[in-house]
Amino acid sequence: MNTAIDTRDLSKRYRRVSALTNCTVTVPEGRVCALIGPNGAGKTTLLRLLAGLASPTGGTASVLGGAPRQDPAFLAGIGFLAQEIPLYRRFTPADHIQIGAHMNPRWDASFVRTRLTELRIPLDQRVGTLSGGQRAQVALALTLAKRPRLLLLDEPVAALDPLARRNFLATLTSAVADAEGGLTVVLSSHLVTDLERVCDHVILLTGSQVQLSGDIDTLLAEHKVLIGPRKDTAPIARAHTVVQTVTTPRQSTLLVRLNGPVIDPDYQAEDVNFEELVLAYMGAGEASAGRRLTTVGDGS
């Protein structure tokens, strides 16, 4: 399987603040990858580096087989949708469709028209007068009309109500299905439940660093919640990687990444769900970020 995204120690510093530190991730082609992290974790920075809208201060990125660059062929393969849903407010969706037609070699205008008609979004009304949900739908449809091989979406559903969010994600899922493995998506959000529905891959960032990345099913299989009596957890920590420890006076709950079978019969192993996994890593990342805060700054 080809890789759509492959980064090695990708870093971006803005003056004294580190926005992304030594990011090494791989996303295979055809995946829908969740990019999760608290605000200021570096999600936007990573997406902009991948789209070629910003250049790294360290490390390398390979996107669709080459470094992100100002080259029509590279740009044609990337669909980028920024958080602010950038559209010309005084132009209509129809204007945008025409602009896109003049700026892209592959351009599926009829796709946008069909999609927007289905959603009952007027094509001849200024974008500035549309609702936030409608604007997001217009922007996503325009981004998909490029027929990109890699779709980079930066918190596109953040401002949407639940129904608009569901519509948006439905558009996305059907586009992925239509592309039959030819479309890779990286979707950033902090709405974990939304992501779980549509994603099969995850990158988790906190404090500008990658805490977790990989295939979601594999990661869920590798992690277990161990519940046992309150006692010294050092033996477990030696054999496995403890992500999170929660202790009450009577029992310990450990979320661990297994490096083999759990031998200690005192512990009962339970499956972990995606949300627990994400929150555990976010908590762990925040804790370590808190310790670094005095030297690095907040990275937002």
Partner: protein, 326 residues
Amino acid sequence: MTWVVWRQYRAQGAIAAVLLAALAAAVLVDGFQIASHWHSILVACAGNKACLQQQPTLVNGVVSDLPYLCLIVPVVLGMLWGAPLVAHELESRTSDFAWAQSVTRTHWLAVKTGWLLLAAAACGGVVAALTTWWSGPVNAMTAGAFAPGQFDTQGIVPIGYAVFAMALGIAAGAVARRSLPAIAVVLGGFIGVRLLISDLLRPHYLAAVTTYYTVGGSFTPPGQAWVFSQGAVSGTGVVVPAGWGDLYPALQPVCQRLIGSTPASGKSGSMSAVFSCMQAHGWRGFATYQPAYRYWPFQGIETGIYLLLAAALIAVTFVIVRRRDA
């Protein structure tokens, strides 16, 4: 990309075209009136120069401010079209839309700046052509082709100013990333550069010509020359501007005595004796000036300077837009 530029600017372009058409109509009507008035003056004075100089000013009414319009059109274009070109896209984040299409930032910038510079040149050119035509009688009457307000508003220099102001706006917008500060930079920068060049540089585009003539004789540089100084210079190199007050103390005592006790009391009869005395001591009359035939070379040089400045500013813009993170 050209279609995209057209779509983005067609409304503004239409407004500009309507304004230019209205201006042209007003200028044509007024211009023909001035021309006929001038013609009647010419007939009445029949070549009498003193009569011509006694005529009241030719121009009045609203259109009389046309030369000033010619001065502000470039800077307005730079502020309204140039400054927001990059800055407004960044401000409203639409750069994230434009630069996420399959067109490189370089290509995007090249097409946009290309058309807008062309539009600036066209607007500057139209206003300059109207002003030049309209000013014909005034030029003939005042005979000061190099005068500020005349040299700067006619011929081809306004095209250079317009292109420069547009480029200044585009570059300032790319550097500042916000329209408002860029607009301020255009206003201040344009006025500053214009004053600097017209005051300090323009007189020296070509070395001034100095013509010497017999003292006491008269000399006027032919045509509408730009006269810097005129006066007398002694054999030992003492320069005195025209006028007896300055000349008297510089004269040799022999010649001073010919004038009499006070410099103003020279009678015409004794004047020729004074001039002969001065000639004998090596005095010559001189005039330093830019000859009239240098009008178009000067227009060309000044336009060239502004076009070069514009090119440098556009080059800076390209470097910024390509290198800096969007």
